[in-house]
């Protein structure tokens, strides 16, 4: 009798509350961290007033400069190399007759996603130690770029492959019917349609490289401090809101790139 006249069949009691709690749990700690980057006091927990001074302190800090420079060199190079490799691989694995070893190749590409980061970290460390010992090879910051490229490839690969699979093949077939060479058909039809996927993949590759801590920490040699490593070094000293300011910058970079990647993917879906 007490049943409401129109019952929403999708409704489940209490789910809304839990969803809102989840959002609060995910965002409140991070927002507090960001707010305290504006604290004019020198403590990370006692609020005294608003200032942008800690951002100034960070930007004038030589160590921060060096870390930011290293981070950008590593993540930009790793992003470019991994996105090119991922694009080629995605074409080589979707626009072909299924070849023997395709499943294995797919597994290899996705391997960095399945192996826990700490294992990749110690394995990469052992590898570079071995080639340094046996052949005297040390690529300097190149070690980190190579390590990052490996785990960036699958992240760049996913959206590009998804885009290739969703793509309407009739356009490519029409181009072929009209005597376009495979290269021309690719350049004039497939590639322009693939650009959103490539951009989305590059954005993800950049984030994972920019944010990486575990692998970088184990593989980095002296003088190869990146921004996450810089934060880690700061945690072990008496902390000032400068650490909040740098953390906020890192978060904002992530948010920017996620949103870009997300919006590109959404537009594609429409």
């Amino acid at each position: 009798m007490a049943e409401p006249r129109v019952m929403d069949i999708k409704d489940q009691p209490g789910f809304r509350t839990i969803a809102i709690i989840c959002l609060l749990v995910l965002y409140v700690p991070v927002l507090i961290l960001m707010v305290f980057s504006l604290n004019s006091g020198s403590l990370v927990t006692h609020w005294e007033g608003v200032t942008l001074g800690w951002y100034g302190t960070a930007f004038l800090n030589e160590e921060f400069h060096a870390a930011a420079r290293n981070t950008l060199i590593i993540s930009v190079t790793a992003t470019i190399v991994s996105t090119i490799c991922a694009t080629l691989a995605a074409i080589g694995m979707t626009r072909v007759k299924p070849w023997r070893g395709l499943a294995a190749a797919f597994m290899v590409i996705n391997l960095p996603l399945m192996v826990p980061e700490i294992i990749t970290a110690v394995a990469t460390l052992s590898f570079f130690a071995l080639i340094a010992g046996a052949f005297g090879l040390n690529f300097g910051i190149g070690n980190l770029i190579l390590a990052h490229t490996v785990f960036c490839i699958p992240f760049a690969y996913m959206p590009i492959r998804a885009r290739l699979e969703d793509m309407d093949l009739t356009l490519e077939n029409a181009a072929a019917d009209l005597y376009a060479t495979p290269w021309n058909a690719f350049k004039r039809i497939t590639l322009p349609l693939l650009v959103p996927g490539i951009m989305s993949g590059a954005a993800l590759a950049f984030i994972v490289s920019f944010d990486d801590f575990t692998i970088t920490q184990l593989v980095a040699g002296p003088g190869q401090t990146t921004l996450p490593l810089y934060i880690w070094n700061q945690i072990r000293r008496p902390m000032t809101p400068e650490i909040n300011a740098i953390s906020t910058i890192l978060l904002l970079v992530s948010i920017l790139f996620v949103s870009v990647s997300f919006l590109i993917a959404r537009r594609r879906a429409k």
């Binding site: 749990v25 991070v30 961290l33 691989a89 826990p116």
Partner: protein
């Protein structure tokens, strides 16, 4: 008598075949995957082979290895050689850390599922425009810097952190509750870190839910609870399995969270492995520990592959 009639399905098959033929006109395309495969092969797979080899070598005194075969790394995992009479004694120290990590990972997975399922379901039942915002809001923490997010938890639960300050100000307690560097801190950090990893795969599975089945269940006089447990949850099983795996595997091998919130007192597998390459100076032991973790991950992945139709899902 043979009558060769072409049914419509045969025709569409022929069309499909033709499309396939055009598609495969450039067979050399497969070579395009070589750069990616070579980079991952040399700098991703080969290092894994190297740690397999290293795990059977002897530790060099200042880190690194000596090229001499030994199974000590695996023996040291469970036993310690007595200095006096050279007998092996069972030492469960490492085993305890593995079991602790396993427990942490299981609790994290269960709580993430309990919180994540209702959230994902709620998201999936919003109108499309609102749905996109929810997905973006969960996607942002998914990709945000884990170190910074863990730091945010640390600021809140420190002795002079917000929670303790608030409780002190309210007069609920008269001295701060120690939360940082405890098991509680690690557990909280893991939950915070991996909650989005649960919500996104669950959402992508619930989004495709056919609500006509839910309607049918109600028509057949099912209660809300029955609809949830006997229709919705069984239908979203692939998402539940994918979500649990995406939380369980990184939680088991967590490194950053126990490093910052456990303060080096409460170790998990990840820190234990890193320690052998740092202050421990026992690379073979670290490699053996890493491989034992890898074996656990492979068992979990096997379970996943067996339970899904071989389709790779991704948050």
């Amino acid at each position: 008598m043979t009558t060769a009639t072409l049914s419509p399905t045969d025709l569409s098959k022929a069309a499909l075949f033709e499309a396939q033929a055009v598609k495969t006109s450039a067979r050399r395309n497969r070579l395009l995957s070589l750069p990616a495969l070579i980079i991952i092969g040399v700098f991703g797979v080969l290092p894994l082979v190297i740690i397999c080899v290293y795990s059977f070598l002897v530790a060099a005194p200042y880190g690194g290895v000596q090229w001499q075969f030994s199974t000590d790394a695996y023996l040291n995992f469970m036993f310690q050689r007595d200095i006096f009479d050279d007998t092996l004694q069972f030492t469960p120290d490492f085993l305890i850390i593995y079991l602790r990590s396993f427990l942490f990972a299981v609790v994290t997975t269960v709580i993430c599922l309990l919180l994540g399922f209702p959230t994902a379901y709620f998201m999936a039942t919003r109108p499309p425009a609102q749905r996109n915002w929810w997905v973006l809001l969960i996607t942002i923490p998914f990709w945000s810097n884990l170190l910074v997010r863990t730091l945010a938890i640390m600021f809140i639960i420190r002795d002079e952190g917000l929670i303790n300050n608030a409780l002190l100000a309210l007069g609920v307690i008269d001295k701060p509750i120690t939360m940082l560097y405890t098991n509680f801190a690690i557990q909280l950090g893991l939950l915070y870190a991996f909650l989005p990893f649960m919500v996104l795969p669950l959402y992508s599975s619930l989004e495709k839910l056919d609500f006509r089945l839910v309607e049918a269940a109600y028509d057949l006089y099912a209660t809300r609870r029955q609809v949830l447990w006997r229709v919705i949850i069984p239908l979203s099983k692939p998402g539940i399995i994918a979500g649990c795996l995406l939380v369980f595997i990184p939680a088991l091998g967590a490194y950053v969270t126990p490093l910052i919130l456990g303060g080096g007192i409460h170790l998990m597998i990840g820190d234990l492995i890193a320690q052998q390459f740092g202050s421990g100076r026992n690379w073979p032991l670290g490699c053996a520990q890493a491989l034992i973790l890898m074996a656990a991950v492979l068992v979990a992945l096997y379970f996943y592959v067996r339970n899904t139709s071989g389709k790779v899902q991704h948050g």
